[in-house]
Amino acid sequence: MMTYPIQQLSTVLQRNNVTVSGNPDGRLIVFAHGFGCNQRAWRFVTPAFLAHYKVVLFDHVGAGSTDPSAYSFGKYDSLHGYADDLLEILDELDVTDVVYVGHSVSAMIGVLAATRVPTRFSALVLVGPSPRYINAPDYEGGFEDEDIQAMLDDLDSNYFGWSSTMAPLIMGNLDRPELAEELTESFCSTDPAIARHFARVTFLSDNREDLPLVTTPTLILECSADIIAPSAVGRYVHQQIAGSTLVTLPVSGHNPNLSAPDALAGAILAYLQ
């Protein structure tokens, strides 16, 4: 993928590893990755957009190869901190008429940003969104409190006795520095404490009240059998965002960006035309 440098990379653009590619005169489309990965999650999807769109990718602070020291536990204790970053990126790029594609937790980050500054956005594409993962009275999120605790335990087990911060040290002595990078990236995050915190924020947030505030035209893309964002949640989001379009992709799982990138890109392009 050809990327061209942004003149005088600002601190904001550096902080979030912002990369711009595609057609410089095209409509701007931003892809935001979900919990557990980084902008590479979009690598199979973006090729379909490069000819006609100016494609912006970024990493959330704490993910990818962003500087761990930029991570503030206070700021990123809610999705609002991430929404602030997104708005700062768009400010910095000085763009309007933005198409925002957010996967998983980034769908809600987009909702928060678009309700705060609707003028920046012309379309929201929410891929597998869920405003709340935990069941509540009159709401079926798909999970219980103890499931989230079990997930955090699993997360800790997978980091147990092994710290990715050690990885560059272990691998650094080798002649192939790319190995260290690969090892770190294998967990799509740089720091276990950050991964744990991001997991809490992602799965313990409740942004149901923010959905009715969306005024931007919205496409909701759900997969036919997604355990993370079950169809009841897709319907809920659709009901809460007035005028939204709900499309069910004929693929199972929560990661159509990885398992069915062409179907995903096709659905987005069809909506935008």
Partner: protein, 488 residues
Amino acid sequence: MSDGSPSEDQHGGARDSYRDLYEHAPCGYLSTTVNGIILRVNETLLKWTGYRREELLDQPFVSFLHPGSQLIFETRYLSVLHLRGEVREVAMSFRHSNGTALPMMVNSTVTPDENGDAATLRTAVFDASERREYERELLASKRRAEASEARVRVLQNASSAFAGATTDTALADELAKVTRDAFAACRVSLYLLNTEGKLDLTSGDPALGLSFLSAEGPAKDLARADHAMIFSRTDATIRSSRLGGLMRSARVETLVAVPLSDESAPLGVLVCAFERPRSFGPDDLELYEALTRQAAQVLTRIHLHQKLERLALIDQLTGVASRRLIEHRLNDAVNRSQLHQRPMALLFIDLDGFKTINDELGHITGDSVLSEIGSRLSSAVRRGDLVGRLGGDEFVILCEDTAPEEVGPVIQRLHAALRTPLTVRANQTQITGSIGTVLYPDGVPDHTLPNLILEQADQAMYRSKRAGKNQDTTIIIENTKTKHSKPR
């Protein structure tokens, strides 16, 4: 078998033995589509998980995981698998057909088709029950140790950060910072009670926007509470209350209010705002309270120190300025006068006959006389003039921005104030004063030191004394010329 090629039977035998290796391998084995739909499973996995083959085939693999592991699988496992082509030794839990959790370690690889696109996912599953149990115990004790170490660190950092604070604001800023870091709070504010009993925002974000904290409202009660309080919008009563509405508009989901108090007197309240629903256990609440307790102790020390400083500036007997404050203010006044060529006067008063009062009526009466004189002098001067006591029965009055014609009337008022019979002991005791004044009508010349001015006023006072007491002498210093008025 003369050509060495395997016979039909041998092919069949090899197939059987490969099938046997597959079905009864010492690990569970399954393949899925890229979407995770199960295509094949081996016997070992079936035996271990308690499912029949047809129950697993054509179903999503993820649906047989425990919910917590489903989250891990979809959010982390799959991204890595697709981007790297393989994943190794990830801990997850499978759901046994009887509902129990089967801890396992999972390895997966992506098998490409002839075009190099992902075709199937192959997964090997290892029983990790024993290992997991041991690991969870270690993990639990590691977490407990880390949590208590973190608490100790927070309190240590707090105590060194607080120790350097010399003002309310500095302490408030430190407390807010320490609390923000300790609890990953989005916003922390500290409100301190002022002398009128109202809360002032001493540190933090006024954009918290919670008007209920501004002054009179429930905040006063919060400051007077004896324990930390949590308000969360997950609580239906809070959600529908006025506070709930305010929290929503300020984007706050959970609010923690921790009182600061010194023994029994309330000092203020620490308010922590969280932008997502948060819950806090007894250890957390204890940490909140330990932090505010530490801060309250430091705050009390700061206030005591400030009070002592204030005391040193005020003459305890008469309530007028102390020698220290006079020197300080005279210094400033001289600088201003030199800078702007503004007129300035310093008056020196020594009481006549005070020694007799002290000797005849005793020191206690003498002290009362000094106190009464102090307040009389204060009411005789102009607004903004400073009355002070140097010690004994010596008083000074510093008059900044004094036009020469204004000095005379002040002196006359002072004489009158002194002459009025004393109320002390209601006898006929009367007191007068010898007054010496130094006046700089064009401002104090450069290089003239404050001490010299004090000395000049003192000399002028001595002239009055020598001229028979109850007199006044004014030395006027104009540029380089010096004029003396005669003692009256």
